[in-house]
Amino acid sequence: MNSQSGDPRGRGVRAVFREARPSARVQWRQLRTGLLFISPWLVGFTLFLAYPIGMSFYYSLCDFSVLQPPRFVGLANYQELVADDVFRQALTNTFCYAAGAIPLGILLAFGIAMLLNTGVRGMTVYRTIFFLPSLVPSVALAILWMWIFNGKDGILNIALSDVARALGSSASPPSWLSDPKWVKPALIFMSLWGTGHAVVIYLAGLQDVPVHLYEAADLDGANWWQKVRNVTLPMVSPVILFNGIMAIIGTFNFFAIPFVMAPGGQPARSAYFLAVNLFDNAFLYLRMGYASAMAWVLFLIVFVLTMLALKLSERHVHYGGS
């Protein structure tokens, strides 16, 4: 029997597949229908994301003031960035902030999640309490912390003065937002306020660690630290990686709070961050081309750091399914 008239069973299957394979016309119709259904998202994505991204790259190669047509200048904006002291200062400030805020945030959030995961009574209440601060809008938060950090009448300095007096010291607390040396530590300290968001994610990760692993560790005579190191940390390492990457993205886009708390990066540009520098160039100095170049450098930095984090994670992050 040939293939056309062979085993009826085999021929039937082949026929079904042949008949079931849609023709080009049907495929086109299917594609069109699919596109039609996702068209609202597609239009939004094209107009408000893909097009601006593409144009921002083009503008980064132009002298563009928003008010007049862009004029192509090649890599001049990028060359200017390399020589710009203020950009370097903003970059340094942003890296310093990230270097402080990211590890501290991760440590604190993970620590709180560990405490909440000990089976404490009313955990849902605590979880809500820790999460609530992260719901406060950035501008309201900035105003609140400006009062807390006030060098003269701020609650933090009043408390620190009382502590210093109790210890018999005459040292006076710093003027947090007026002293160039203290403004970045103050902002790092303040960033811990929004740690509740990460706590909830860590807590979910901790509750997902199989109990039998702890039981096995107990049978092996592991102490608390050994269980944390050999069971908990490996099992929640994907969650730590996720939070770490989100923190990298968040800290390099740090804008609203320094914009309100330290206008112009004052004092003496000690709190001048990349995103604020970018905004100033785009909307105050009317240098949209230069600001676009800055945005692409910022993107590149975040991209490289994210890739670096992912690369480093290969040896330290353990996935349950792998």
Partner: protein, 465 residues
Amino acid sequence: MYPGGAGSRKGQFESGTYEAYKLKRETPNSKLGALCAGVLCLILFGWFFRPEPAPADGRVHVRYWEKWTGFEEDAMRKVVDTFNARQDRIYVDMLAVSQVDQKMLLATAGGNPPDVAGVWDSNVVVYADYNAIQPLDDRCSRDGVGPEDYLAAYWELCRHRNHTFALPTTPASVALHWNRQKFREAGINPDQPPRTLEELAAFSDRLTRREGGKLVQSGFLPAEPGWWNWGWGHWFGGQLWDGRGHATLTAPENIRAFQWVKGFADRAGTRDLQVFQSGFGNFSSPQNAFLAGQVAMVQQGVWMANYIHNNNPGMDWEAAPFPFPEDRPDLANSTPVGLDVLVIPTGARHPEEAWEFCKFVQSQEGMEMLCAAQWKHSPLSRVSERFYREHRNKRIKLFYDLAARGRTFAPPPVGIWREWQDEMKTAFENIWTNGQAPADALAYAENRVQTKLDRYQESIARRYE
């Protein structure tokens, strides 16, 4: 995969191919879906680009964006209402807009600007350079609006490259304000303010008080309110540029000025000053350092009387021209001048009607109505007796005289003024907070400003070519 179970599939296939089945099943649905989506898109498109409905009153509606809020907005609204009441052809719709300079700019770039906007004099140059506002020369000459109508210092702020691009709304000059009660407490005659900058420093030392080693009152602080930190050199005879494109921040007069400024920080102690200044409240509040009695003398504009009235009405205060260096009596009566202005953006739909409104604001009646309600002096060269008689600022003539006959100065008319101002601010903070030597801070700022200035001028020149 196709829908339904194996049984149903078999039935379908018996009567034709899967392709036929798909066409039969999907064609009506996809056609209907496409039709619906198309109609929806058309409706949305039509709604988005719908023509503006004609106003029911048959008048041309002028869209006017203004930066003012509160009592300043109320003052302008009174002028707008008066204009509207006298018109049967034009109606001005006034809208208070925060960050009006940025929003007007984006609206202009987007091709949908307001017909008239109230911005600051510092915006005029850059907007003019980028063709974001219309020159008003033809309209001015047609309707007889010219330099003879205004105080020269203010008229100049409306012009750029020999063209008029804006018209004034409310002006400002600056003077020394002092708290007479604090003078009495320090044993200083409250009727004799410091005449020279050296006297000002000496008075300040006498008025400065400490309690438990902590600063509780300062005589004078150059950083309070800190709005004219760019201009300290002018009080010592310096200039920020040579008028031809070269920044002159390191001129000896400018360095001397900032050394004088630094003297206040050195005498009070940087650390103590930081803590002391942290306790200052918002300008427009009873916690304002001058109104709360934390600073006895302050450099402030014509508007200050209003804020004193609102926040500390019982305060015993006076105002006088800001002092001058002892060895430069020719610099007496120096004052920075500033101006709120009206501009007609490029692309405005009703520029002629907007101009009619601008003209009304420029009339003596409109201008005095506005300036009196904002507690400011008039920028016009002719002022009615009634304006002074009924004005609530007891020192209004002082501010007018300073602007009319004093030694006035303003920021350099360059499009990068905003960047320049930020460089000056940073230089000031480095001197005031970080203890940097004025010569170093100014040299650094000059270098940065010059680079920006060269770049901007080159960019503008290339565009005009």
